[in-house]
C-alpha cells in the first residue's frame, strides 16, 4: 500500500473545497435570494446570509393561480408519462433481455440511434404528427412525446438490470407452467424493484424538467408546464427575482431529492449501459 504524506491530505482538502464551491455556489445563491425581501435582493454588496429571511416569495408563488396551474400540469404529465413509459419499457427490456427473435438487432440499433438523436431535430416531426392527431396543446400529447423520448434510455437501463438476473431463477417457475408474463410480473419485477424505482425516477425527472418540446406542443396555460412558466417568468410577472428564485427552488426539489436517493443505481445504470455498449 502507498503511504499518504500529510501534504497529500492538504491537497485533498483544497480539491474538495474547490469542487464544493464550484458546484454549490450558484445553488446557495438562488436559495439565499429566494428568502430575501425585495429591497434586500438588490443590496450592494451582495448578502449571502439573509439577515431577515422571509417566506414572502414562496407565499406569492404558491398563491399565484398561474403557478398553481403550471405545477398541476407538470404533475399530471410527468406522472402519466412515467407510468406508461415504465410499463412499455419493462416489457420491451424483458423481451430484449431474455429472447432471441427476428429483427432484434435492428430494433436494438434503432433504440441506440434514437438515444443519440438530438431532440432539436425531432421538434418538427413531433409537431407534425401530433398536429395530425389533434394532440397539440393537450396533456395527452406531451405525455406521449415524453414516453417516446424517455423510452430509449429507460429500456436500455431496464435491460441492463434484467441482464444481471440469472435466468435459472425463472426456470423452476417455467416448469410449474407459469407463462412469461407471469414470470415477469411475479419474479423479475419484484427482484428488480429498486432498479425499476430508479428508472421511474429517471422518466419522471425527464418529463418534469423538459422545456423544448413543451414549448412547441403547448399553446396556453391549460397545458403549459412549470419549465415554460419559469422561462417566460419575466414576461408575465415583471422581473421579480425573489419570486423567480423561489419557484426555481420549488421546481428543483423533486429532481435533486430523487437524485440523491437513487444516485447509486442511476449512476450505475447510466454508466454501465454505456461502458458495455
Amino acid at each position: 500500500m502507498l503511504k499518504r504524506r500529510p501534504i497529500h491530505k492538504v491537497l485533498i482538502v483544497i480539491g474538495a473545497v474547490i469542487i464544493c464551491i464550484y458546484s454549490l455556489m450558484p445553488i446557495v445563491w438562488i436559495i439565499s435570494t429566494s428568502f430575501k425581501k425585495p429591497d434586500v435582493i438588490f443590496s450592494d454588496p451582495p448578502q449571502w446570509i439573509v439577515r431577515e429571511p422571509t417566506l414572502q416569495n414562496y407565499k406569492q408563488v404558491i398563491n399565484n393561480p398561474s403557478m398553481k396551474q403550471y405545477f398541476k400540469n407538470t404533475v399530471i404529465i410527468s406522472f402519466f408519462s412515467t407510468l406508461l413509459s415504465l410499463l412499455i419499457a419493462i416489457l420491451a427490456a424483458y423481451g430484449f433481455s431474455r429472447y432471441r427473435f427476428r429483427g432484434k438487432s435492428t430494433f436494438m440499433g434503432m433504440l441506440f440511434f434514437s438515444r443519440v438523436l438530438p431532440r432539436v431535430s425531432l421538434i418538427l416531426p413531433f409537431f407534425i404528427i401530433l398536429n395530425k392527431f389533434r394532440l397539440v396543446n393537450t396533456h395527452l400529447g406531451l405525455i406521449i412525446v415524453y414516453i417516446i423520448i424517455g423510452l430509449p434510455i429507460t429500456i436500455w437501463l431496464a435491460k441492463g438490470f434484467f441482464d444481471k438476473i440469472p435466468i435459472e431463477i425463472e426456470e423452476s417457475a417455467l416448469l410449474d407452467g407459469c407463462g412469461p408474463l407471469r414470470i415477469l410480473l411475479r419474479i423479475i419485477v419484484p427482484i428488480s424493484a429498486p432498479a425499476i424505482g430508479a428508472i421511474a425516477m429517471y422518466a419522471f425527472i425527464l418529463a418534469w424538467n423538459e422545456l423544448l418540446l413543451a414549448l412547441i406542443l403547448t399553446l396556453d396555460i391549460s397545458t403549459q408546464t412549470i419549465s415554460i412558466g419559469l422561462s417566460y417568468y419575466k414576461l408575465e410577472f415583471g422581473i421579480s427575482w425573489g419570486n423567480l428564485m423561489a419557484s426555481s427552488v420549488l421546481m428543483s426539489i423533486p429532481a435533486v431529492l430523487v437524485f440523491i436517493f437513487f444516485q447509486k443505481s442511476l449512476v450505475e445504470g447510466l454508466t454501465s449501459g454505456s461502458v458495455k455498449e
Binding site: 450558484p26 451582495p46 412499455i88 423481451g95 429472447y99 437524485f259
Partner: protein, 291 residues
C-alpha cells in the same frame, strides 16, 4: 436465452410507438426538407434543394453555423478537461469522497431552466452577483454587461452550460477509472514511473473506449443545446449565442417556415451521422490494432 417469437410481443408496444411517432415523422421531416410544405396547407411540390439553398442564403445561417461549431468545440473540450480533473481527483481514496461526488453531481440534476435562470441572475449587469461582488471588492473597472455584450454573452452562457453539463462526463470517466486494476499503477510505480507517465501510459489507454463513447455523446448533446441558451439570452444579443437548435426553433415556430426548418434539421442529422461514422471508424481501427 429463449428463441421464441413471444419475445417479439414484449417489444412490440415500444417498437410500434417508436416507429409511428419517431421514425415515421422523422422520415416525413426529411421529405419536407425537399418540398414546399406549409402547415397551413396548399399543394406540396417537390422543390429539390431549394430549401437548403434558401436557408444558406439567409444572412444568419453562416453566423449560426460558426456559433454552433465554436459552441461544440468549446463545451466539449472544456467539459472534458474539467471532468477528467475532477474524476481523477474523486478516484483518490479519501474520507468523505462519496459526499463530494454527490455534491459534484448536483449541478447536473438541477433542471436546465433553473440553472439558466440562476446564471442569468448571477451575470445580471446591475445587481448580479458577479458585478456587485466586483464592486464590493473595489474592482468596479472589471464589471461588465456579461449577457448583453455579444462576445461576453457567448462565454457567459458557455460557462453556465459547462457547469451544468460536465458532471455527467465526470461520472462516466470516474466509472472507467475505477475499473483500472490497481496493480498496473503499483507496478509502474515500482518501475519508477511518475504521475504524468502513469496517466499517459496506464490511465489513458485503459480509458480509451469510454473516452470515445463519452466524447461522442457529448458532441451530440452539444449540438443539441437549447434550454440554457433559450433561458439566458434567447440566442441574443444580436444572434451572438444563436446555435442550430435555436435556429430550427425560430424558423419553425416563430417564422413558421417549416420547410426551411426541416432543411436545417436534415443538416443537423447529417452532422450526427458524421459524428457516429467517425466513432465507428475509430472503434474499428482500435479493434484491428488490438487483434
Amino acid at each position: 436465452m429463449r428463441s421464441e417469437n413471444k419475445g417479439f410481443l414484449f417489444v412490440l408496444p415500444a417498437v410500434i410507438l417508436l416507429t409511428v411517432l419517431m421514425v415515421y415523422p422523422l422520415l416525413q421531416t426529411i421529405s419536407y426538407a425537399f418540398t414546399s410544405f406549409k402547415l397551413a396547407g396548399g399543394d406540396v411540390i417537390f422543390v429539390g434543394l431549394k430549401n437548403f439553398r434558401d436557408v444558406m442564403k439567409r444572412y444568419e445561417f453562416i453566423h449560426v453555423l460558426r456559433n454552433t461549431i465554436s459552441w461544440v468545440i468549446a463545451t466539449v473540450t472544456l467539459q472534458f478537461a474539467i471532468a477528467m480533473m475532477v474524476a481523477l481527483f474523486l478516484n483518490i481514496k479519501f474520507v468523505g469522497r462519496e459526499v463530494i461526488q454527490i455534491i459534484a453531481l448536483i449541478p447536473w440534476t438541477i433542471p436546465s431552466v433553473v440553472s439558466g435562470n440562476t446564471w442569468k441572475w448571477i451575470f445580471q449587469t446591475d445587481y448580479g452577483l458577479i458585478n456587485s461582488t466586483l464592486r464590493a471588492l473595489g474592482l468596479s473597472q472589471f464589471t461588465r454587461p456579461w449577457l448583453s455584450e455579444p462576445r461576453l454573452a457567448f462565454f457567459s452562457v458557455l460557462f453556465a452550460a459547462i457547469w451544468q453539463g460536465y458532471p455527467f462526463l465526470m461520472v462516466m470517466l470516474l466509472s472507467g477509472l475505477k475499473g483500472i486494476p490497481e496493480e498496473q499503477h503499483e507496478a509502474a510505480m515500482i518501475d519508477g514511473a511518475n504521475t504524468f507517465h502513469r496517466f499517459r501510459y496506464i490511465t489513458l489507454p485503459n480509458l480509451q473506449n469510454i473516452i470515445v463513447i463519452v466524447l461522442t455523446l457529448q458532441v451530440i448533446y452539444a449540438w443539441n443545446t437549447f434550454d440554457i441558451i433559450f433561458v439566458m439570452t434567447g440566442g441574443g444579443p444580436g444572434g451572438a449565442t444563436e446555435i442550430l437548435g435555436l435556429f430550427i426553433y425560430k424558423l419553425g415556430f416563430s417564422s413558421f417556415n417549416f420547410s426551411q426548418a426541416a432543411a436545417v434539421s436534415v443538416i443537423l442529422l447529417l452532422f450526427i451521422f458524421i459524428v457516429l461514422g467517425i466513432r465507428n471508424i475509430a472503434s474499428i481501427s482500435r479493434g484491428t490494432k488490438h487483434a
